[in-house]
Every structure is written in structure tokens, then in C-alpha cells.
């Protein structure tokens, strides 16, 4: 469902992504890990069409993100780490506006509204301005909007920042359920327990280079260590740091 071939990205003289090759099949939860500044967000921005690669190819659902951006964007959902929401719109207005942008029929938007607003406990807040929502409620609204058009591929950058335990459980269950239903989930996180918990496969990026790829068991076998934390630290620890 996601195909990355020889992906490179330069920021001036900085080589941020160094020839990544990766294939993520349909229905997989893929966890993309790496230290700060390793190239995770750059990769996800290229995958979502927000940035263009310096070289290499990226295909989502068989569509080239560079040559068929609209078709590719139509089948993907993206939840950034610092999402934008229209402060002066109500919860329901933001939801319906998202539906309009994706060309979802109003009947389907109505059904999705009932389903996701109920799931994320947004029904009683539907007339509240985004301006007045707490961080957790905003995150719930963003998830609801992202699922509205039934994306085939979901990109999530740091999915659990600032959420309460109840919402964390809700999101984890939902991502698992969506993956079982055939959605491909590509997520980046610093919470290694989350990757252990829901990741089918894990990729670790260091200095723009995909240095490890496999299931948790494969990574442990190949790189040593009892936990993902051991593997991660073993692979990414800078020289000289304890």
C-alpha cells in the first residue's frame, strides 16, 4: 500500500533522508521510530505530499504522490503532531467542512458524524467553538475528521501527545481495529511501548538512514536486547553517550 524507493531529501547541504527503501502492505500498522531530527517527520511529509523528495519515488495505494497528488491525497488521512484547526468554527462545522473538502456526500457525512461523534464523545460538544475546546477534545475531533472519508492509508505523527489514558486506549483500539479492517497505518512515535503494543512491523531511522526493519521479534533477534528500548538505544545511541 505504501512504496518508498530510494528516497532522498536534502535541506541545502543537510542530507535529511538517505535513500530509504520501504514497502508497507495493506492492513499493517507500521511504526516508524527514530531519535529527534532523524528524518521521521520529513519522511511522513514527503509521503503525504507536503514536501517533495530530492530524489526517489513514493507511491501510496499504487498512486505516485508527485504525479497524482489529488488522487493520492483522497485515499489518505494525516494527523500531524501539531494539528491545525479552525478556531472560529464549531466542532460540527469543522467536521462537515472536512467532508466537503473530500467530496463526501452530505448523507454519508451525517452518518459518519453520528458514528464518530458518538465514539469520541463529541456529540454533546458539537456546537462548541474549537477555540473553547481542551487539547484532548481537539485531538478527538481531529481523529473524527480524519476517519470521515474512510482513508485507505493513515499517517499519524505522534498520535498520543497530551491525551488522557481513556483516550489513549480509545485511539490504540481504533488504530488496531482500522488495520484489521484493511487500513494501512503508518505512525511515528517516541513512545516505544506503543510501537511494541500495536506495531506489526517497526522501522528505525537514524540520521536519515533506515537502519533496522522488521517485527519486534526479528529486531530483537537481529540486534540483540530484550525489549524494543534495548534495540532502539543500541542502534541509535550516539558514540560516546552512555
Amino acid at each position: 500500500m505504501i512504496e518508498i524507493q530510494a528516497l532522498h531529501k536534502y535541506y541545502g547541504s543537510v542530507h535529511a533522508v538517505r535513500g530509504i527503501n520501504l514497502s508497507v502492505p495493506k492492513g499493517e500498522v507500521f511504526c516508524f521510530l527514530g531519535p529527534n531530527g532523524a528524518g521521521k517527520t520529513t519522511t511522513i511529509k514527503i509521503l503525504t505530499g507536503l514536501m517533495r523528495p530530492s530524489s526517489g519515488r513514493v507511491r501510496v495505494g499504487g498512486l505516485d504522490v508527485q504525479t497524482s497528488p489529488l488522487e493520492a491525497k483522497r485515499i489518505m488521512g494525516y494527523i500531524p503532531d501539531m494539528p491545525f484547526l479552525y478556531e472560529r468554527m464549531t466542532v460540527e462545522e469543522v467536521f462537515r467542512f472536512t467532508g466537503d473538502l473530500y467530496g463526501v456526500a452530505s448523507g454519508e457525512t451525517e452518518q459518519a458524524l453520528m458514528r464518530y461523534f458518538d465514539l469520541f464523545a463529541l456529540l454533546e460538544h458539537r456546537d462548541v467553538l474549537v477555540h473553547d475546546l481542551s487539547h484532548g477534545m481537539r485531538q478527538r475531533l481531529i481523529y473524527a475528521c480524519t476517519f470521515l472519508h474512510d482513508p485507505a492509508v493513515l499517517f499519524v505523527d505522534e498520535p498520543l501527545i497530551g491525551l488522557d489514558p481513556y483516550t489513549i486506549r480509545l485511539i490504540k483500539d481504533l488504530l488496531r481495529e482500522k488495520a484489521r479492517g484493511g487500513i494501512t497505518v503508518f505512525l511515528t512515535t517516541h513512545i516505544l511501548a506503543l510501537a511494541e503494543d500495536i506495531g506489526d512491523r517497526i522501522g528505525i531511522i537514524r540520521d536519515g538512514d533506515l537502519c533496522a526493519l522488521g517485527t519486534l521479534d526479528e529486531l530483537r533477534r537481529r540486534h540483540g536486547g530484550r525489549t524494543l528500548e534495548d534495540v532502539f538505544l543500541g542502534l541509535t545511541r550516539p558514540e560516546g553517550r552512555p
Binding site: 541545502g12 547541504s13 505530499g49 472560529r88 462545522e93 467542512f97 473538502l101 473530500y102 467530496g103 477555540h131
Partner: protein
Amino acid sequence: MSVAAAIRRKHVAHVVNGWRLLRSQPRFKVLFILVFATACEIGLWKLFADGFDFLERFGGVAGMIMARLFSLFYMGMFMMLVMSGIVTSYATLFRSDEMAYLLVRPLPVKLVVVYKFFESAYLSSWAFLFIILPFVGAYAVHLHLGFRFGLWTAVFSLPFLVICSGLGTIVIQCVVRWWPRRVGHKPLLLAAGTALGLGLWLAKDKVEAGEGTRFALSALIPGMRLSGNMLMPSAWTADGIQAFTRGEWARGSLLLAVVVTTAAVLTLVVEGLGRATFQTAWESVSEGGGRRGRPAAIFAWGDRVLGFLPGDVRAMIMKDVRTFFRDAMQWSQVLIFFGLLGMYFANLRTFHYDTYSPTWRNMVCFLNVFSVSAVLCSLGARFIYPQLSLEGQGFWLLGLAPTNMRRILLSKFALAIVCTGVVSVFLIGLSSSMLKVGGVQVVVSVALVGCVVLAVCGLSTGLGAIFMDLRQRNPAAIVGGFGGTVNLVLSLGYMLAAIVPFGLAFHLRAADLIDETFLHRSLGFSAAWCLLLTAAATAAPLVLGVRALRDRDY
């Protein structure tokens, strides 16, 4: 539903919810802002109406000037709106959080660019409306023009706004896309720009020499000839409105068609540029991976120069300096404000103001003091007032540091004074020297501007602390709030109260209505009044600001 309809619906929701938010605001605050805005509009109307009456008294040439004044006004608007278009388009296209949100949706980039371009035109239109309403009203009343004049002004103004914003958007799209980033390219660009400027200057001199006295009016009123040039969109607009008002339907329709088609063509150019270059340009602004700060050596030099200051004060000052210079939105606006004034002052002799009678030179000199002071008030409201609020979530760093709120506030106050003071005093010195006014007037002008700098910085810093809002990240919302409005009103009020007595004394003397002894007495009284007012306007907000910072919960 089409995307365009969805965006339209989003804007309707914004307006409706904006009204909802407004109703939840304290009534006094809303009333205060409304009264201030209305008073400003009425004041501007009165100013324009008095100006027209004043011109009328001269007879002869004044009639010719009045006939061309409308074109001149539109030319001024044209230049202002193009500048405004450059700044607002940069903010809406390249710095808005909404852009990343829209770019990941299945929308063509060109559509997003056109949408943001219209948003930028809409944002620019507020200032346009605010100025054009009183001008057109006063002009129509003075010349006894009927309702049709207002109607045709409205019809022409819409495409005119699109043209101005379109030019601004095109300029900023090209600049961001092709601005040289490699070492060695910038000096090349600078050299090319200088050569172009020099070429234009020489060409201008040649044209002027060739025209002789054919267009004497343009020598009297700067910009008059350019405002009538039929290559200027402002000339089409002004001429078209007047043609329709006079009942010249054919000429009016032709000019309306020119304005509308130009607006349409510019929209197409914006769209085309958006499709071809926007993504690359946006990436170059938004990607931070390889960006380096300005040469650290400059800031290291600043640190050394400020070595005599205590470490915490120096650190806070240098933090603000770094932030300012690394934010193109901030320094570019200051550059535009002061740059335009600098260009105008440097050209005072080109306009032969130095050859005018003492009465006129005195008036121009005090008008220049007003200009610099008004720019100071705007800068105080736009940059100094919101700086504490913009510390935002980072304020904990200052709050927990082993320093105190008094030092934080005073360091911001001192930095504001140095930055605005140096430029303002230089500008007013330049103006006085160009006008060849007397020594006493030079001293008074410089001292007056010095007082305005002190008071505006004191008011803006102090009120910024009193009305600090750490949750708000949008500077426009901070400036447009209650505290921001109070700050602007008080700054403008102070400016008038401090400058008018001096200006009046010099004017009465120049008009021979008072003798030298009375002038000196008046100046002494004005100086005492100004000093007292400045001390109060500077110290009171700072003391209250320190108290507010100390007493609030973080």
C-alpha cells in the same frame, strides 16, 4: 458540494461565530473599540473636509489640484495596497498554519493559492475601507457629487483591490521562489538592484529635462504627473469613477472593463504562478532542516557590545534581537514603515520644500514630527505591545529564571527605546536638515521625537504587561484586543497633546501673530507640559506593568 462552496460556507461560519465571540466579550470593551473606530472615521472625515476647504481658498490652481486630487488619492492607495498585499500575502500564503492543513487535502495547489490570495485581498480591504470612506464622503460633499459617485466608487474599488493585492501576491511569490540562497548570489542581486535604481533615476531626470514647464502642476504637487499616467491602474479607477459620475458612459464602461479584465488577468497569473512555483517556494519557507541562523558573528558582536550589562538582562535583550531579525515578517514591516519615511525625508529638497516660506517649512517640519510619531505609535502597538504576550508558553523560562519581573520589563523597555529612538531621531534630524529650518526648531523637533519614543515605549511595554495574554499566539489578535486598542488610543492621544502646543507656538510666530518674547514663553510652557506628560506616560504604565507581572498567576 464544490470546494469553493465549502470554503465559502467556512467563511460564513467564521463570520457568524465571530459575532458569537464578540457577544461574549465585555460590553465596555466592544463599546470602547466601536467608539474609537467611529471617532477615528469622523476625525478623518473632518480632516479631509477641512483640507478641501483650505485648498478651495487659494482659487485658480486649487481648482486644478482638486480635480486631480482623486487620482492622487487612488495612486497613494495603490502603492499602499501593493505594499500591504506583499506583507499580507506572505503571511497568508507562506506563514499560515492553515496552508499545511489545506495542502494535505485533495485540492489543487493553484486553487489553494487563489483562495489565499483572495483572503489576502480581503484582509487588505479593511484598511482601504477605513481610509476611503471618509475621503470619498468628504470629497463628494465638497464637490456636491451625488449618490452615483459613491456607487461607482464601490463598483471600481472591488477590482482595484484585486489588482493591488494581485501585484503584491505576484511579487512575493516570485521573491520567495527565486530569492537567492547561495553564497555570492545576494551581492549580485544587490548590484543588479542598484544598477536598475540608478538607471531609473537617470531616465527620470532625462524625461523631466525634456518636459520643460509643460506640466507645472506636477512640480507643485509631487506625484501629480504619475497619478495621471494612464499606465497606472489607479488612474483608470479614478478616471472611470469620475467619468461615470459625469455621465460619460462610454469612457466609464471602457475604463471599468480595463480594470475588471486586469484584475482577472492578474488572478490568472497568481493561479499560474501558484501551480508552477508555489510548492517549491512554500517548502523553502517551511522546511527548517538545513536553515542556519544569521551569521552568529553578528550576535556574538552584540553580546560583546552589551557586555557591560548584567548577564540576565543581556540575555533577554539578545534573545529579542535574534527573534526580531530571524522573523522576516517583523523586520520587513519596520523596514517598510521607516524606509518610506526615510525616502520621503531624503527627497524633501527634490520637492523644493526647502525653498518655501518659513510658515510652510514650519508646518512641514511639524507634520514630519507627526508622521514619525504616528509611525512610532503604530510600531509600538504592533511590535512592542504584544512582545510580552508573545513569550507565550515560553514565559515559564523567564518566570523561573533567577531574575525579577522588573528587570524583564525594563530590559524590554530599554531595547524598545534604543531601537526606535536611534531611527526616529535620525529621521527627524534628516527632515529638519533637508528643510533648512532654524536651530531652535531642530532641537525642539529632535527633543519632541525623543519624548514620543520614551512615552510610546513606556505605554506599550507597560500596557503589554498589564494586559498580557499568554494563551494567544496570533499577534494580530493581541494587538486588536482591548489592551491593544487602549494602548493605541493613549499613544495617539499623548502624541497630539505633546506636539500640538509646540507646533502652534511656532506657527503663530511664523504667521507673525505673536512676538519673539511670547514665542519663548510659549515654548517654555510647552516644554514643561511635554516633560510632565512624558514622565507620566512613561513611568505610570511601567510601574503598573511591573506590579501586574508580579501579582499574576502563571
